[in-house]
């Protein structure tokens, strides 16, 4: 593992330092008084795979929801390349370069794999642009390229609903790759996958990391060890521990609330 990453900035350092791709500071959201995310801060470097772990209800998915604009923060700030995200609309956040995969595979059942990927191609996103969008060589080549990365090259004309669960997860990852985001957020990408599929997914993630950062929520500890550069542990809406997998694994607080049982 990259040694420089272990000297990563600690909580509380300047959020505007340009070396972070993502700087989350004192982020809080409360639903009717219940603080699902409570004063959370963390920083993600360029080209880093960061995994967020934590028991159910720790606020992991809510953190992703806050970053991508699905939920509005009560207080705190989320800076992506120095740009405040909390005030942007969902589509503007995507266009800024943040992509998000949902927990259950979220793909378009009625469309073919090709068409699923095509919709994510970052061109013609306005009404008029979509009406005049041309399926040209650039689009086809890019879709072909991504399809072979996500192991779906031979399924391009198939309706997405006929894919297996693992293939659907890959398809959604592929839809994000086509968007070419600098920050890719994946919510439980290997949940429900077979061992073989999990290995392939880890390979895929290590392949797509070039030129971007990945923020992953995952429960599968083996998988986390395989991919994580650093791990952030959330518990009851707060950051419990942060650092390399090795360090987090040996943190007594983490063992007590999460890994121990």
């Amino acid at each position: 593992m990259n040694a420089a990453m272990l000297h990563a900035p600690l909580i509380g350092e300047s959020p505007d330092a340009p070396k972070f791709l993502l700087a989350v500071e004192s982020l809080t959201v409360s639903f009717d008084g219940f603080k699902a995310v409570n004063d959370v801060s963390f920083y993600v470097d360029p080209n880093e795979i960061r995994v967020i772990i934590g028991p159910n209800g720790a606020g992991k998915t809510t953190v992703l929801d806050l970053i991508c604009g699905r939920t509005k923060a009560s207080t705190g700030s989320i800076k992506y390349k120095g740009q405040e995200l909390t005030k942007l609309s969902e589509s503007a956040i995507v266009q800024a370069g943040v992509g998000r995969k949902f927990q259950t595979p979220s793909i378009y059942d009625d469309l073919s794999v090709f068409e699923n990927l095509e919709i994510s191609f970052p061109r013609g996103r306005s009404v008029f642009g979509a009406l005049t969008f041309k399926r040209d060589a650039e689009v086809r080549d890019r879709i072909e390229e991504v399809a072979s990365m996500i192991f779906l090259k031979d399924q391009l004309t198939e309706r997405a609903e006929f894919l297996s669960h693992g293939q659907k997860q890959w398809l959604e990852i592929g839809m994000l790759l086509i968007q070419d985001p600098e920050l890719l957020m994946l919510d439980e990408p290997v949940a429900g996958m077979s061992v073989g599929e999990r290995i392939k997914t880890a390979e895929l993630l290590n392949q797509i990391i070039v030129g971007r950062s990945v923020l992953v929520i995952e429960h599968d500890m083996k998988f986390v060890e395989d991919i994580a550069h650093r791990v952030t542990v959330l518990h009851q809406g707060k950051v419990l521990s942060e650092g390399s997998m090795e360090r987090v694994k040996n943190d007594p607080k983490v063992i007590e609330v999460y890994l121990g049982h």
Binding site: L111, F114, E115
Partner: protein, 392 residues
């Protein structure tokens, strides 16, 4: 399929598997069949009265076509399409009424030169909302622009607030009811419950004669086919696929960088404009417009046309409209009081047994057999075809 300049590409791609042709061969056949029936067969078979009746039915097909885009593809059920049909129809009727109310024609009124119902309601001056309808080009513009604007305002207000599904359907229904009440209540300005009647000429051309009915029928048929082609273009564009994607997983579309509300508003506006064109053609062919085509019942009937024909099929919607209306005319001539029950039963039956309507039945049962027969006739050709066509 053949015009792809990509000979160097790998085999699977070079075969044009990912081409997106404007229409597939079967769709061209469907279009030709529909055009032949509307523009050739029916005019030959039917007398002037029946043909005018079919012309009237076909004006509803515009509404059904809009519903296919908006409801079938986009998943946005509007129970208020009568509003837009009515707006288009009233715009046209206002122009025709003003032309029929020349000073000469209305010299017995206490205020000559204004529509008769205004005179009966003690209105002595043409209201400002009627003024634009003295001009034919402006009227034609408003037939399209007014419903589009109205739909844009409703769509933007609702979709930006993420109002959808049942709530949207109920609100559109309420709007249809409000518009009816408004029209009935403002008798002096709208003609009230009777509507706008006694329409005579369009820019000097008498629209009441058989020959005029005949010409209007063909204009109507031509416009309908134009609308089908435009709808087909939208369906085949990326926008069409985004509508389907939104119906499926709205959040995924939103988090792929699209403003979902704008796309929904577009679909709703398109349906509104189609409905309004139908409404204007209705007024021209039938010779009057009244609130009974605006309210809740006609709006729901129009949804039934689309449902029976198949809400995912542009051609199905037209056939469905023709069929239901033909049934309505035949049954209500013999059993007028039973018709509404029949219509309700038909709707329930379609939704329960054939959710994709006539087009769905055709696709499931008829098309596979037809394809097999065609292949049997031309076995060599069939085998030479590449291994697949783009998925729908």
């Amino acid at each position: 399929m053949e015009h792809t300049p990509m000979a160097h590409r790998p085999a699977a791609v070079a075969a044009g598997v990912h081409d997106n042709p404007f229409m597939k061969p079967m769709e061209w056949v469907s279009l030709a069949l529909l055009a032949a029936v509307i523009l050739v067969v029916l005019p030959i078979l039917l007398d002037a009265f029946r043909l005018n009746l079919v012309g009237k039915y076909l004006t509803y097909a515009f509404v059904a076509l809009g519903l296919v885009i908006c409801w079938g593809f986009g998943g946005i059920l509007s129970l208020g399409q009568g509003c837009f049909f009515g707006l288009g129809g009233y715009c046209m009727a206002m122009y025709l009424k003003l032309e029929a109310s020349s000073v000469e024609n209305t010299k017995i009124q206490s205020t000559p030169g204004i529509p008769d119902f205004m005179d009966w309601n003690q209105i002595t001056e043409l209201p400002w909302i009627w003024k634009p309808f003295q001009s034919l080009p402006l009227t034609l513009f408003l037939v399209v622009a007014l419903p589009a604007f109205f739909a844009f305002v409703i769509g933007t207000a609702m979709f930006r607030r993420r109002v959808g599904g049942t709530y949207f359907a109920i609100i559109t229904q309420a709007i249809a009811a409000i518009l009816t009440i408004l029209i009935v209540g403002q008798q002096g300005y709208t003609g009230g419950i009777n509507g706008i009647t006694d329409l005579r000429t369009l820019n000097g051309w008498d629209i009441r004669t058989d020959s005029a009915h005949n010409i209007l029928y063909f204009v109507n048929g031509g416009l309908l086919i134009g609308c089908i082609l435009f709808a087909q273009y939208v369906k085949k564009s990326k926008l069409g696929r985004i509508l389907v994607a939104m119906r499926d997983k709205e959040d995924r579309v939103r988090f792929s960088g699209y403003q979902v509300a704008s796309f929904k508003t577009f679909a709703f506006c398109m349906a509104a404009v189609f409905a309004a064109i139908g409404g204007a053609m209705f007024t021209l062919q039938v010779g009057f417009m009244s609130p009974s085509f605006v309210g809740i019942v006609p709006s729901i009937e129009m949804v039934i046309y689309a449902a029976v024909g198949g809400r995912l099929s542009l051609f199905g919607a037209v056939w469905g409209t023709l069929l239901v209306n033909w049934a309505k005319t035949s049954f209500s001539e013999s059993f007028p009081e039973l018709w509404l029950f029949g219509l309700g039963a038909l709707f329930i039956a379609v939704v329960l047994a054939f959710p994709n309507g006539l087009a769905g039945i055709y696709r499931t049962y008829v098309e596979p057999r037809l394809t097999r027969k065609v292949k049997a006739l031309a076995p060599a050709e069939a085998r030479a075809l590449p291994h697949g066509t783009p998925a729908e």
